[in-house]
Amino acid sequence: MTDGTTPGSLRAVSPVDDADRRILAELGAGRLGGLEDLYDRYRAMAFAIALRITADATLAEDVVQDAFLGVWRHADRYVEGRGSVKTWLLSIVHHRAIDAVRRRRPSTELPDPEVPPPPQLIAADVWPEVAGRLDAIQVRAALATLSDVQREAIELAYFGGLSQTEIAERTATPLGTVKSRMRLGLLGLRRALVGEGAEPMPEAGEP
């Protein structure tokens, strides 16, 4: 289907910068200084994501606290080469925030919050190459290249914690259409991001 048109590989080259490396060493040694530095570095992004998802400042604080404490208690679960510290931390924040909003919707079946993502997913980290070159505005510009319905499907899932079935119900759209909007939206976002910020990336799909 999309094999020939898939944008190039975005594999991480240097997933952890020196500051992250030092933070990880401190966390690994159980020193609170590492947690302080981690917090000072990423608190605003962590809080912003939690707030966007929960739309509740108190709940967002709880989520951020849980996420940082999770990192503190399980720093040994971080695997270098499988993504930046930022991605790791923010994915935990995201996961816990979604968990928190789903908990408020009793009809939703909850996934086990402690199940770590499979390595295939952790490995897919493109942040380090482009994080320095892409700011929120550029990422939003990339999102803006998607059709409204694609963006809506992705955002309802990622920020709303809705399942594909719930999105189909809410938007009165057939399930298959929702699935395909998500897939095409993610592929489109990827293409836009590679174009925006990652010029030096090898275009493996287009030799």
């Binding site: 159980g30 400042a57 940082f68 040994d76 923010l90 079946e109 929120a136």
Partner: protein, 282 residues
């Protein structure tokens, strides 16, 4: 559910966005955990997901959150496999049940070589008691909004702790931090004794009592046999409060709790659950 690679392709977008039904998600996870072949669609689509977080404009959290997290982290040791916390093993409960002091242990204590636990408790009780209460209080405040049960537990525990602190504030008082002595419990609490012989104990995270069960408080002074102080019961909140009197509690005396099958025990019949050593609070 057995999935083909075509199924995985079909489910990949929903999977990386966490939008599958639980049984679909479990099936994809099972497949990925056992299938050695590459799954480029998962990586291709999954690699985009972190950018969604980057599309959010950073928002400064409230200033108090930093301290709350650090306080809580001080109490939450990194898990097994992680390294020791900065407080070096201080908050680590003794791994094995702590029996009542044997004759040898008592002799050793009399000879000026107190047990490891006793030394630790005496040295840190006063400082940790306040830190533990403060940080736990903060943690609870953070969770009260969505955990109704915690509110009752917090209120009960705080009332108990208030009584302990009132006694601890008196001249000539002693305090002890009660920590788990048996792997079956994570109960902790505070105790204080006044110069007039008052003993107050406030505990949290105790298993609820049932039937005629009671938690019995004991005081052990030097070489003597444990002396019962009295019992109390614990409801679903897990908090327990005890107040009584004793003429025995002085610096170095050990306070212990056991779960007895009925009230009125004169000698412990069950393992010590939590233990602490009294030290001058002033």
């Amino acid at each position: 559910m057995n999935l083909s690679h075509d199924d995985i392709r079909d489910l990949a977008a929903g999977f990386v966005l966490g939008a599958l039904a639980p049984e679909e998600e479990a099936a994809v996870r099972d497949h990925l955990a056992t299938c050695r072949e590459p799954h480029p669609e998962i990586e291709e689509l999954g690699g985009v997901v972190p950018y969604l977080a980057a599309s959010v404009e950073p928002v400064e959290p409230p200033a108090g959150l930093r301290d709350r997290i650090l306080h809580a982290a001080m109490l939450a040791r990194p898990a097994e496999g992680g390294a020791q916390a900065e407080l070096t093993a201080a908050p680590t409960p003794a791994p094995a049940p702590l029996p009542f002091p044997t004759a040898e242990a008592r002799a050793a204590r009399l000879a000026g070589r107190p047990s490891r636990v006793a030394t630790w408790a005496m040295g840190l009780a006063a400082v940790l008691a306040i830190a533990v209460l403060g940080a736990w209080n903060l943690q609870l405040q953070a969770r009260i909004s969505d955990v109704e049960g915690s509110l009752a537990a917090a209120t009960a525990y705080q009332q108990g702790v208030s009584r302990v602190l009132e006694v601890a504030a008196q001249e000539g008082s002693q305090t002890a931090l009660l920590v788990p002595a048996d792997p079956s419990t994570s109960a902790v609490g505070l105790a204080a004794t006044g110069a007039d012989g008052t003993v107050v104990i406030s505990m949290r995270d105790l298993a609820p009592t049932s039937g005629t069960q009671v938690y019995e408080a004991w005081v052990i002074v030097g070489d003597a046999a444990p002396v019962p102080l009295g019992g109390f019961i614990v409801g679903a909140s897990g908090t327990g409060a005890f107040s009584g009197t004793t003429a025995l509690a002085g610096p170095g005396a050990i306070l212990a709790l056991t779960l007895e099958p009925g009230p009125g025990a004169t000698t412990p019949t069950a393992p010590v659950l939590t233990v602490g050593t009294l030290a001058a609070s002033g």
